[in-house]
Subunit: 237 residues, 2 copies
DNA sequence: TTCAATATTGGACACTTGACCTGCTTTCAA
DNA sequence: TTGAAAGCAGGTCAAGTGTCCAATATTGAA
């Protein structure tokens, strides 16, 4: 009924085993509420209610709600980081087929309840919170690493800026499908057809793209992150 | 600094002029808060604070907060309905150029603060509220009327289902750009390039699409609306 | 001008939320 | 086994919320 979120939990220092488990339980419960009922419902009391513990127990691990929420977001986004990392490494395919696999994987992921509910919440939150904006920026940069490389291999004539813009539009196109064909949305049943359309049109877009006439050698992809963080995300391992 | 939202206000019965104005002020203030600070900040007290009136004054017009919110959403979405209607009627262009104009208009609109803030909030809300889902479904159906007609004219060989799926993916692609290149987002500066990419790739998609082998004659576009409401939205006037 | 309909105030109510604090209980290394 | 650290219960607090109501002020047609 409800696919349990696989969170990546940040390590804590010198703690009893029971405490370690509690933190995991707290975060997982928070994500569960977030997915089922949205951000406003993620209150300390609702978490405590579902876990059948007292609010002060949560407060023992997180001195403020904001700290907790930050940990929740970080845990959620880390799990997607792993998802993208898995996509990137597990492909010995040709560039075009690799891109096709990426598109299909993203659109499959969009069909899950978790992604359908979570990302619109994050997009909305990003409009009001600079930290969330940066976290989302980071995760999407990670997701585009594979795409930009495929584009460079498929169409080597392209300049950096065109490559990056194509990757961005490709990613944006897929994310937009969440709104209409995500889990439980009216068009979810058409996802097989949409996948085919997305693959065909987006790969054709990459193949037929032409470099801009006078590329600016100083152009760099725009980001909310500082240069060092950006490089760390895009650097080949 | 802040583009004032043009709301379409529902008519009320037998009321003083001051009351008519108040309702407009209340709704406009609510939208202002919604855009600036997000949904959770739209409280009766925050509206009253900004208008320098008492909470009970608002309560005189809306017996519950839910009623008010519903009117806010309805007003906001009506304004977009007018936007789409204007796009549809004011174009004596060839189908391909009409589609190009649509894509550019949507991406221009995405650059506004209003749309960048509002729609992610609506998408998030749709995940938790069936009524909002239906309202959004309705407004996007309106927005696709023009697109589906252009597609039918550009590529007459296509069956209904392929046409509708193409229109959906095209719209989804554009909406997805909001997340990355909306007002104040990192890629907003690349919008001219993204517009060119979107136009080229999406129009090529429509031109090169091929009908499915064995179309189901009973297939109808999926929607949350009942049949009558759907027809009313798509029927040519 | 009159006066009933309408608009608005000011306050009260019950409820929720995050934060915090004191004291009891459990854990687990020394 | 012991005791300090960690976990947790129970309750309090101020600040916030939507709702409601009685009293007052304003409007505008008759």
């Amino acid at each position: 009924m409800f696919d349990l979120p696989s969170l990546k939990i940040k390590a804590r220092s010198g703690i009893y085993a029971t405490g370690q488990e509690r933190v995991v339980q707290i975060l997982e419960t928070a994500v569960e509420i977030l997915i089922q009922d949205g951000f406003p419902s993620v209150t300390l009391r609702e978490i405590a209610r579902r876990m059948d513990i007292r609010v002060s127990a949560i407060h023992h691990y997180y001195s403020s709600r904001d700290d907790l929420i930050l940990d929740v977001l970080s845990g959620v986004l880390s799990s997607y980081e792993e998802f993208f990392e898995g996509l990137r490494t597990a492909s010995d395919l040709q560039p075009e087929e690799r891109l096709r696999a990426f598109i299909n994987a993203i659109l499959d992921d969009i069909l899950t309840l978790k992604t359908t509910r979570l990302f619109p919440e994050l997009w909305a939150l990003a409009g009001r919170d600079e930290n969330v904006s940066r976290m989302i920026d980071a995760i999407y940069i990670r997701s585009r690493v594979l795409v930009t490389r495929c584009i460079a291999e498929i169409n080597p004539a392209l300049d950096l800026r065109t490559r990056e813009n194509l990757a961005l539009f490709l990613t944006a196109s897929l994310e937009g499908v969440t709104i209409f064909a995500g889990h439980g949305k009216p068009w979810a049943g058409e996802m097989p057809q949409l996948k085919a359309i997305a693959c065909d049109s987006l790969i054709a877009m990459v193949c037929n793209a032409r470099p801009i006439a006078d590329p600016d050698p100083d152009w760099r992809p725009p980001t909310l992150l500082d240069a060092a963080s950006y490089v760390a995300l895009t650097d080949p391992v």
